[in-house]
């Protein structure tokens, strides 16, 4: 009940993260200012805020990416600080600098740190300088002789990548030296066509890698610690969809937590980092880990760290931004139990995970022990087509991984979203999968899962109940029923049909 650290904070974001940030701000006694595009006037982050300001039409470039309008809104409403959430302007060094110039506190790292960690190549140099292991690679462009030398030194398989590349184009896996020359030629000409630049570099290929990341936290007085790891190996289209804390691999080999944590803190310190950030690593089966990149903002999956450490990362971010020293010491950080998070998207997992926005006609959420939901949807709301299809994050906590997985299945079964398609039923199958339960995770898990998946079976009586409900529903819509003659019947009810688990 003491005076708040800031009287008012503007949240320069939308959706679940804006709502999540506002919840902690409200708990801290800080007034909240929402900004919104025309597509979001009815969105929950606006309805929940104390104050709100329109910043433009639906396209992000005309609204949530408009630094000038967001700073104008902050001035107009008298906000002392801005929380950028994730995405949008959160990792934009120019925006952080513009806030600093305007005398508005940017709740995040300095613009210099964002710049230092902003590009993958710059961050890699920082990591190398800090002694943090990186995936072995040639750095610069290579010819065939140089590639061959690298292959002999690093060992096969290796990966050839276009210097100007992205999206998998101009990329080739090479399993033995005999294939190297032709692969390099093909990849280079593909890169030339795609990017007008045929330069290639080579990298050690990490097979079936796990994605494990370290949460770091530092104050503006040079005190920097880590909050342990998260494992985010379950991905679709290179985007995380299930995250855990701890990592099952690290949990078995806790010395990894110390080693990765130290490496992450070293890399962050080298960039003069403060506030919350995440250092991402790839880990291989031999438990080697390699620096991937640093995210200089709050992560989507931060709740699993909060559930296990008992800390409120947004509260800590605000305290740090207000110049408070971080009282938490590395040895004070305690990890208890197991947390998992599923990202609930408006998408159709059985149709290549295509987005599926629309109007939410029904909504029942799981409750009870160990369940946390961060969402921004409500019944009757129409999911806009203009932004990311993340509807909510469902996180659970339990004492052990198996119990957490069972709790997640229970929660997914209680979760009902109507009117649109979601990946809720798909998650349930992943959580029931024996490979997942055995924690044999890697970033290609979902592709392999689709190959081995057997659709779940329903009971015959469930199909009977569905038929009866549909008939009663139709009956309530028909008028003036009359008896008519019947024709042939089938045996679909006896078969135990496989309904799709949506």
């Amino acid at each position: 009940m003491s005076a708040p650290l800031f009287s008012k904070v503007l949240v320069a974001n939308r959706g679940e993260i804006a709502v999540r940030v506002m919840r902690t701000l409200r708990e801290m006694g800080i007034a909240t200012v929402a900004v919104y595009s025309d597509a979001d006037r009815n969105s929950l982050h606006v309805r929940m805020a104390d104050e709100a300001e329109r910043i433009g039409p639906p396209p992000s470039a005309d609204s949530y990416l408009r630094m000038d309008r967001i700073l104008d809104a902050a001035r107009k409403h008298g906000a002392a600080a801005i929380h950028p959430g994730y995405g949008f302007l959160s990792e934009n060094a120019e925006f952080a600098a513009a806030c600093e110039d305007a005398g508005v506190v940017f709740i995040g790292p300095s613009s210099q740190s964002i710049r230092a960690m902003g590009s993958k190549t710059a961050a890699r140099q920082v990591a190398i300088a800090a002694g943090t292991p990186v995936v072995p690679g040639t750095e610069g462009p290579v010819d065939a002789a140089q590639a061959r030398a690298f292959g002999r030194q690093a060992g096969y398989p290796i990966l050839l990548k276009a210097v100007a590349g992205g999206g998998g184009k101009g990329m080739r896996r090479v399993d033995r030296e005999a294939d190297l020359e032709s692969a390099l030629r093909d990849a280079s000409s593909e890169a030339l066509r795609a990017f007008r630049n045929g330069d290639m570099y080579a990298e050690k290929l990490i097979e079936r890698p796990r994605h494990i990341e370290i949460q770091v936290l530092g104050d503006r007085h040079g005190h920097l610690i880590h909050l342990g790891e998260r494992e985010c190996s379950i991905q679709r289209r290179h985007q995380k969809v299930i995250e855990e804390c701890p990592s099952p691999l690290v949990d078995l080999h806790t010395e990894m937590r110390h080693a990765m944590g130290e490496a992450a803190v070293r890399a962050a310190a080298a960039a003069g980092y403060y506030n919350a950030g995440t250092v991402e690593f790839l880990a291989d089966a031999q438990r080697n880990f390699y620096f991937l990149e640093m995210n200089t903002r709050l992560q989507v999956e931060h709740p699993v760290t909060e559930l296990v450490t008992g800390l409120d990362l947004v509260r800590l971010q605000v305290e740090i931004a207000a110049g408070r020293p971080l009282r938490l010491k590395q040895e004070d950080v305690r990890w208890r139990g197991w947390a998992m998070e599923c990202r609930i998207y408006a998408e159709d997992p059985y149709n290549n995970f295509l987005p599926y926005p629309g109007k939410i006609t029904r909504l029942t959420r799981p409750l009870g022990p160990g369940v946390r939901i961060d969402g921004a949807i409500y019944p009757g709301w129409t999911v806009p087509v203009d932004y990311d299809p993340l509807l909510a994050k469902l996180a659970v906590w339990a004492g052990h991984r198996d119990d957490a997985a069972d709790r997640m299945i229970r929660a997914l079964r209680e979760y009902d979203v109507g009117g649109i398609r979601t990946n809720i039923g798909f998650f349930r199958q992943i959580l029931e999968d024996a490979e997942f339960r055995a924690a044999r995770l890697h970033t290609g898990f979902i592709e392999e899962f689709f190959e081995r998946r057997t659709p779940p079976q329903t009971s015959p009586d469930m199909a009977v109940a569905a038929a009866l409900a549909a008939a009663l529903h139709a009956r309530s819509r028909f008028r003036a029923p009359e008896t008519t003659r019947a024709d042939s019947t089938s045996n679909w009810l006896r078969a135990g049909r496989s309904g799709l688990l949506r």
Binding site: Y356, G419, T458, A470, L472, H473, R485, R497, L500
Partner: protein
């Protein structure tokens, strides 16, 4: 009233003898009983053989016939027809000769790649639909002529909506 059913593509028949709460019905010839309540609009709580089924009815997007029934996360697509009305309904159904190219998701048409009357190959792109930062190219399933083109750039489309027909 006897009703014709199609569930996930398979036909059947149901007759509601007594609608509920003590419901009696004949399904594919077999008479059964269930206790049925509607705790919420469009939600049926069915007690059948001692087991509980919480069935949620979902209207399908435009174009699709029937409803989806969601029980414990499982989704059944069920079409219920009153046979007395089938003749009338059949009369309303249009010709189905041409192959349609439909939007797989709601979104905006960002590019139309063909013109009316164009000859197209199988797999050739017809239009690009975007939703939530993802672009998806709709392709012709087989070769033919663009017989109709129902959208233009900037249009908003819903899932299942026909973009073009190929003959």
């Amino acid at each position: 009233m006897k009703l014709h059913l199609t569930m996930d593509g398979a036909p059947g028949q149901i007759e509601i003898l007594s609608p509920g709460p003590a419901c009696c019905f004949r399904l594919n010839g077999e008479q059964r009983e269930a206790a049925v309540e509607t705790p919420e609009p469009g939600v049926y709580s069915v007690l059948l053989n001692g087991r509980v089924y919480d069935a949620r009815i979902e209207e399908l997007a435009d174009g699709a016939r029937g409803v989806a029934v969601v029980i414990d996360g499982f989704r059944f697509v069920v079409e219920v027809r009153d046979p007395r009305r089938m003749a009338a309904a059949a009369a309303q159904t249009g010709r189905q000769g041409a192959a349609t190219v439909a939007a797989p998701m709601p979104g905006k048409v960002v590019r139309v790649l063909v013109a009316l009357g164009d000859q197209v190959e199988a797999g050739q792109g017809i239009a690009v639909v975007e939703a939530m930062k993802m672009q998806n190219e709709m392709k012709a399933a087989h070769a033919g002529r663009v017989a109709s083109l129902r959208v233009k750039e900037g249009d908003t489309v819903s899932a299942g909506q026909t973009l073009a027909t190929i003959e």
